[in-house]
Homo-oligomer: 318 residues x 3
């Protein structure tokens, strides 16, 4: 594996999930794989689980890990190719990245979208420039439009918990929020589940919240929440801002908040969320506190998803 | 030891002090005790000695240590049980803590008080919620009302330096400050010294600065500074804001600043302060620069106090 | 080596360069040299390459490395000897440094100048107070007036790339900038190149930008850019603010920006810059993107320069 920024970098999702779950069973089995290998984590944006779980994954493989908060510990980087740099940016990624590529064996980067300019966000300029100029494997810790480590975790969590022979019915359920959020998690989950192909996959959202069609082919899109939730095995709750009216909040509709009552037609459905979640706004506290919530399991599995990816980069086996 | 947030978690103070001083003599003797064990340091507030000494203590035990500055590297956490999270907090401790509990073997947390709502501060909501929801051992790096690693260090420093057979006379001496400070260090030192029971313990402060009586039973409280200082073996200098008129500065009285002149009735007294100290406001530079000052020793002993506590959690021996 | 804050701490520059290049060829050859040794990196200012490369150098030697962002993770330190601390500073270096000296085997510190008070900046109060009060070896990660790790890297890069028998002609070429920058890199490069003595060294700058004569003895100073650049083997591009009219920008003269066209009289000259560089303001993007640019090599060599210095402190061999 030469990079990990999209489901397309995971040719065999089931094999990668198995690798993650193997690490969960035995986290230290490859403790010497990363000896004298070094990973750099570049954060342009806040992070909790991703930050911690990736550090832990690297440690479990014996790698040396260095975290760098780009903006607060360093300075603003420029990503526009021919910039006359007389403004707020201090260094061009073209100058910084080749050196980072010589400092590290793997680079990880988190960059959020602006939510202002869709074509710029969807060009994934930041992570692509880092790939281009660093010359070493790059792992996304959530980019402008995708969050592949989260999606790998999510599928691992579903495979770990779904023991029936049939395909699970998975509903990605839009949720209200007070702030415009990226489409990353929703795009990425859709991309991974459809590419995986072993689920009946429904995307439920109010009108105006269609995702980029590039990621939803193979999914059933339903605008009626009640209908969508019926007989769900998994309900993945997540807010995202509008893709079509880019970055906007179209409606602030609490009817789309999942509560126990809402789930009366899918009582046994497992509830998923990538976290952080705003309780009683995106998702009812009663649901999050119920035994059907998988959020702790998802968060925990982040370690092993990252460990599988880093391991696969260090020593491909799939 | 299952947690370390108060003197009550240290059933045998002398044994714990001995353990700390043993580590001081031989810091690396348990270098393999923490192999494949991981400690997370969560900072909600600034820290220097506590931050560094706890990292060093963990490294001395061979543990992997990850520091997380919650507010600046992550986001604001919610601690109110039934919050409708449509404000500034992004994630509930209920959702975050169980995952952190799966990421780490020990969690450490620093949280300062608001100094606005006494009952809320004294409920120690933050650290108690972390204990409740993480399910793993939690160590206080200073909480709203107590600072047990500092107090363990302080008693270790006293035991290391007091070679006479009699009980030492220890005076906790209130000092002026320009900002309202927590009562943590004073509460905690009082709690530890009284529980330890091997000292004559005097608390000296102007009227209006009584500490929570829960922590001062067994101490002699004196409002006259001169009288209190007489014949002191140790003078522990520290400011705190009012407990009764909660969080307020009652007087800004430079007469309570300890100087060499002030110490004429206790010329050989050792001077202690947890640091940071504001020179020539809380404590005279002449005193801090004198050979009687123990602040460097206290600061250095922070490593070994933390090391004793982490070791005792990993492998109880007391 | 007991400290590394100036070229004067490097009695034999060629030997130190050789040591750095040896580490480049075999980074892990002294992986056990630093076992149970600990290095603390104190940042009062932003840093990217210095921060990362010093961590990597320490790891390559098997040291434990702790980074501390003093202002954001801790609090403001006081450096004035007899301060009455009733302002914004929370702790005096006199109180903090001896403890840091007991926490670490080596301390590294980055402190920028104010550019307001020349005599204060050039007194190097911050780093000198740390040396005085910590009592352990201190390494400059760029101080108010010098940047020795950068200069060691620069000479290593020149030695690595210059294969002719004659002396190289090296031109330090002032460049425009929109902000007043320290004189550190220019001072330091001049100090190192003149002390090294194995180059023809020209300093080119507009009038008003003379450096402290203490660092330029042995250099030829030229105010005509064209003349200075002629036949250069190396052009080291760097902005600095005025030393004589301290901290001021005297002219904002884009004619001093190096471009390919500018280099017509030194077509094969290697181009150097310590980075970060503002493209198309300090230095043309065409030059930075050309095969003659050494900035990536310089940035990469930062690891091995730091490694040589740390190694020499741990176990002197030169």
């Amino acid at each position: 594996m030469k990079q990990f920024i999209s489901a397309q970098d995971a040719p065999n999702i089931n094999a990668l999930v198995s690798k993650a779950l193997d690490y969960k069973a035995n986290p230290f089995k490859d403790k010497t794989l990363g000896v004298n290998k070094r990973i750099g984590l570049l954060f342009f944006n806040p992070s909790m689980r991703t930050r911690l779980s990736t550090q832990i994954a690297a440690q479990n493989l014996g790698m040396e890990c260095i975290v760098f908060n780009v903006g607060s510990e360093g300075w603003n980087l420029e990503f526009d190719d021919d910039a006359m740099m007389n403004g707020l940016t201090v260094e061009h990624i073209k100058d910084a990245a080749p050196i980072l590529g010589n400092y590290f064996d793997i680079l990880c980067i988190r960059t959020f979208p602006s939510l202002k300019d869709r074509s710029e966000d969807y060009s994934e300029k930041y992570i692509n420039q880092l790939i281009k100029y660093s010359g070493i494997p790059v792992v996304s810790l959530e980019s402008a439009t995708l969050h592949p480590l989260q999606s790998l975790t999510d599928i691992a969590t579903i495979k770990e918990t779904f023991l029936e022979k049939r395909k699970p019915r998975i509903v990605l359920s839009w949720a209200p929020h007070i702030k415009p959020l990226p489409q990353c998690v929703a795009n990425s989950f859709s991309q991974w589940v459809t590419q995986w192909g072993e689920a009946d996959f429904i995307i439920a959202h109010p009108e105006g919240y269609d995702l980029d069609p590039m990621y939803t082919q193979g999914a059933t899109i339903i605008n009626n929440h009640e209908t969508a939730l019926q007989n769900a095995d998994y309900v993945y709750v997540k807010n995202w801002s509008s893709y079509t009216d880019y970055g906007k909040i179209k409606s602030y509709d609490n009817d789309w908040m999942i509560t126990k009552e809402k789930l009366h037609r899918a009582k046994d459905a497992k509830i998923m969320h990538c976290l952080p979640v705003r309780r009683n706004l995106e998702l009812g506290g009663d649901v999050l506190d119920s035994k059907n919530s998988l959020t702790t399991l998802q968060g925990t599995n982040r370690i092993y998803a990252a460990q599988a990816v880093l391991s696969e980069i260090l020593q491909p086996s799939i």
